[in-house]
Amino acid sequence: MAERSLDGEGSDVTVALQGPVATASYSRITVDVEKCVGCRICELACSLKNYGECNPSRARIFIVRDEDGGAVATIPVLCQQCEDALCVAMCPAAALGRNAATHAVVVDPDKCLGCRTCVEVCPFGGPSVDPRTGKSEKCTLCDGDPACVKVCPESALAFVSAEEEGLHRKRAGAAKYLDHLRSVASGPGPHSSPQGAA
């Protein structure tokens, strides 16, 4: 819970804010799509940690991997731990809520009806109904120590706060822009044709 001092109408008021500012300091799993190579180690680790078996179809992180001929595209999909989470708001059984320690959106299996409302309203494909339990299952951040992040060999997954993620993105964007400027300034490289290799 962060506090911020606001100046307004000449009066000195201290307001306790809830919501985005408050949760920006909680770590969540972030994805760098450009780094993901689609090895699916995260899926195997997730299912092993959470269900004691290696089974990507039960994993709470899912790699969308499309191979079309020799072209490969991969994108990890997982719960974004939204601040104003549709799944929480729409659950008819009030089975979804926040874990006090990690701020992760979690499902109470005793309350869950398995109605799939959360699955349908989530814009990201975060929750899904487990084939064995019939209940909604989703990323819990492994109680603050996510298995997927630990094993990702590409560092495409990270467990960082929203603040850190924002800064990281700004720096990455700036670096790309600088790279571009430099490449424009220096012109085409020495190896500009495939035949240049021979």
Binding site: V37, L44, H191, S192, P194, A198
Partner: protein
């Protein structure tokens, strides 16, 4: 479903359109899985009379106990049959995502038997198996067929199958998995085609069970750290095989077996191509290495490249047109043909042309000049589609040589058959690596599928190219060479083993690598994570994961024994199929030939006497008969293969008495001790790689 196993082997009888299930437990205790169980299944299902392209042959797909798990590199499938190329064992190992999916569906192995009346494909969805009509898929290339099947069955279905080359039973056809992951060499795709099976599609949602999830997780993470902590890991992770293939070509170690075309290789470099057209790294399910390079060349399309694909259609044919090379790689994937074999066949024709032995009247008009685009493309497609001369080529080098010999006067052939000029071992076109280095010659000669790739000495191979590594400083080269030499000498117990042009002790190095690769192959994991490719995974690194997964103590000794047992089953079968010591050789023409090109040009090659001496060393280590090369009875009995010993005895090929020079030391203990010694010397940058 047992821990780490699906628990079931699927036998699909295509002739009678029925499937049956055999428990994996029947084979797992002795043969573990993957190549190990495949070898045993093949022994039980083929003999000398089996026509490789007849319905009586079997095509085996095997995963291992670690397939589909968090263990690094765990999506390998071993594909085995009686080979239409050699008549002995046909075997190849492929990656991708299919192995994991099959395990998640609850199956360990798939066995194709008989022949379907019309084109079919298998669809395995967990316990449910369908043999489906594939007439609409027949004729489609691999990319299109896989796309079509995914549209039919859903995007998560994983597919392996054959392209037009397999349908047409071209002996070099492979089974294509995905990306750059075919089970190539030895004609497995032709066998699949002969059974009228286009593909096997799998979807599995049952997962792999483990006895102790927490310990298994820790063991897999530890194994992953062994891979990613290897000194060579950053290199292979960033540039894959592109740099090492540059070094191979420059050194003359790859495609260095001909003096015919002019030298250009000293300036060869893949780095600019990767820099300009690279579209990212990719690889298999469960792998932290991601050894493959994805490329997009606007004029050709997108494709993925790894390993030998770099050199076969470029350096192998003196082709400097990289657009053509890239197109041929893409076509090999689409048509489903082994690039090394196809390129070697064309290489052979080009050499015959260069020597004035063949002319355009024999090649359907193709001018088989080195690097000739029209000749390369024309010959390739005529072979895939079996048109004209291509129909002869598609039947293999032996048949082609007979055909050519009948049309060419003996004096034009220099008194030799055209077969004499072919780079082959038992009719199997050689992989690009030269046989003018001792260990490599031994690997080709005793190789379990008449190929060196899983019986290879990585120390010599790497020593030969490290001086040509484009990104290494002189200090790095010297340090790397020194460590390799020391590690090889320590492993073999002979200093000469660390000498790139020596031959003593090399049999130990070849044997040790074969044993290590065998462990990976029977676990269903990737041999590229071992010193084969400069990474540090060793037999002992599987033990913790297997123990935690199975819920019983697995020892390194047990794994090593299983690997050696598997190799003896394979050897016994090859001998049953007719292989003997005299089949274990390299092309006649290559003896006493100095290195032909590149960095080592002029250095002395391999003599027949030395090869024979190395073979004897190898047989002695293996416990095979020195005279015939057949495993000795005591060797078979030591590994619990009494029934195979009885079978060989009944066939009259089991050697009488013990003529092997097997020493007093227990072989297993000796190997393990040497391995430990070598590991101490071999860690770090001594990284051996392919």
């Amino acid at each position: 479903m047992a821990n780490l196993y699906g628990g079931k082997i699927l036998f699909a009888d295509l002739t009678h359109n029925v499937v049956r299930v055999v428990p994996t437990a029947h084979y797992a205790p002795l043969y573990i899985g993957g190549r190990g169980i495949n070898a045993r299944l093949l022994y039980e299902n083929v003999d000398a009379q089996t026509d490789p392209l007849g319905p009586e042959n079997v095509l085996l797909f095997g995963t291992g106990p670690l397939s589909g798990t968090l263990f690094p590199g765990s999506s390998r499938t071993d594909v085995m049959c009686k080979s239409p190329v050699t008549g002995f064992i046909g075997d190849a190992n492929m990656g991708g995502n299919w192995s994991a999916e099959l395990k998640h569906a609850g199956w360990d192995h798939v066995v194709l038997q008989g022949k379907a009346a019309q084109p079919v494909y298998l669809y395995i969805r967990n316990d449910k198996v369908e043999i489906r009509d594939a007439r609409h898929l027949w004729g489609l290339d691999n990319y299109a067929a896989h796309r079509c099947i995914r549209e039919e069955l859903g995007s998560e279905v994983k597919v392996v199958g054959i392209g037009p080359a397999g349908e047409n039973q071209v002996t070099y056809a492979n089974v294509f998995s995905s990306l750059a992951n075919p089970a190539s060499r030895t004609g497995n795709g032709a066998v699949m085609g002969s059974k009228n099976v286009k593909a096997i599609a799998v979807r599995g949602t049952q997962g792999v069970q483990v006895a102790d999830p927490e310990a298994f997780f820790a063991a897999c993470v530890a194994a992953q750290r062994v891979v990613t902590g290897s000194a060579y890991y950053p290199h292979v992770h960033e540039v894959g095989a592109s740099d090492s293939n540059t070094a191979y070509v420059r050194s003359g170690v790859k495609w260095g077996q001909t003096e015919q075309f002019p030298a250009w290789e000293s300036s060869w470099d893949w780095a600019p191509f990767w820099k300009q057209y690279g579209a990212g790294r990719t690889g298999c399910t469960g792998c932290p290495v991601q050894c493959m390079e994805a490329y997009r060349l606007p004029s050709v399309g997108a494709s993925v490249i790894s390993c030998d694909l770099y050199t076969a259609f470029s350096a192998g044919l003196a082709n400097e047109d990289l657009e053509l090379w890239f197109k041929m790689v893409l076509e090999c994937h689409k048509q489903g043909i082994d690039e090394a074999s196809a390129a070697m066949v064309i290489h052979w024709l080009m050499e015959l042309w260069d020597l004035g032995i063949i002319d355009a009247s024999l090649t359907d008009g193709h001018q088989m000049e080195w690097g000739n685009r029209e000749a390369i493309e024309g010959t390739f497609f005529s072979m895939v589609h079996r048109r004209g001369f291509g129909d002869v080529l598609a039947r293999g080098m032996r048949v082609t040589a007979d055909y050519l010999d009948a049309k060419i006067p003996s004096e034009r052939r220099g008194g030799h058959s055209t077969y004499y000029y072919a780079q082959q071992v038992n009719n199997n076109p050689m992989f690009g690596l030269t046989d003018r280095l001792h260990s490599q010659a031994l690997g080709y000669a005793i190789g379990r599928r008449s190929d060196l790739i899983s019986d290879i000495d990585p120390y010599e191979m790497t020593l030969a190219m490290v001086d040509c590594e484009p990104r290494y400083s002189e200090e790095q080269k010297a340090a790397s060479s020194a460590r390799l030499r020391e590690a090889a000498a320590a492993l073999a117990g002979i200093d000469e083993a660390g000498d790139i042009f020596g031959y003593k002790g090399k049999a130990t190095l070849v044997h040790d690598m074969g044993m290590t690769i065998g462990v990976a192959d029977l676990c269903g994991t990737c041999k590229w994570h071992t010193k084969f490719n400069g990474l540090d995974v060793e037999p002992k690194d599987y033990v913790a994961a297997l123990s935690a997964g199975l819920g019983r103590t697995v020892t390194t000794e047990e794994l090593v024994a299983a690997s050696l047992r598997m190799r003896d089953v394979e050897r016994a079968l090859e001998c049953k199929l007719g292989r003997r010591r005299e089949n274990d050789t390299i092309p006649e023409r290559d003896f006493d030939k100095p290195m032909a090109r590149g960095y080592w040009k002029g250095r002395p090659g391999v003599s027949r006497d030395r090869l024979e001496e190395m073979k004897s060393d190898y047989y002695t280590i293996r416990g095979w008969d020195l005279e015939t090369g057949v495993p000795l009875k005591e060797t078979l009995v030591e590994y619990g293969l009494d029934d195979i010993a009885d079978d060989l005895a009944a066939l009259g090929i089991l050697p009488e008495g013990g003529s092997s020079g097997a020493g007093d030391e227990p072989p297993l203990a000796a190997i393990l001790t040497k391995e430990d010694e070598a590991r101490r010397g071999a860690t770090g940058h001594s990284a051996v790689r392919s």
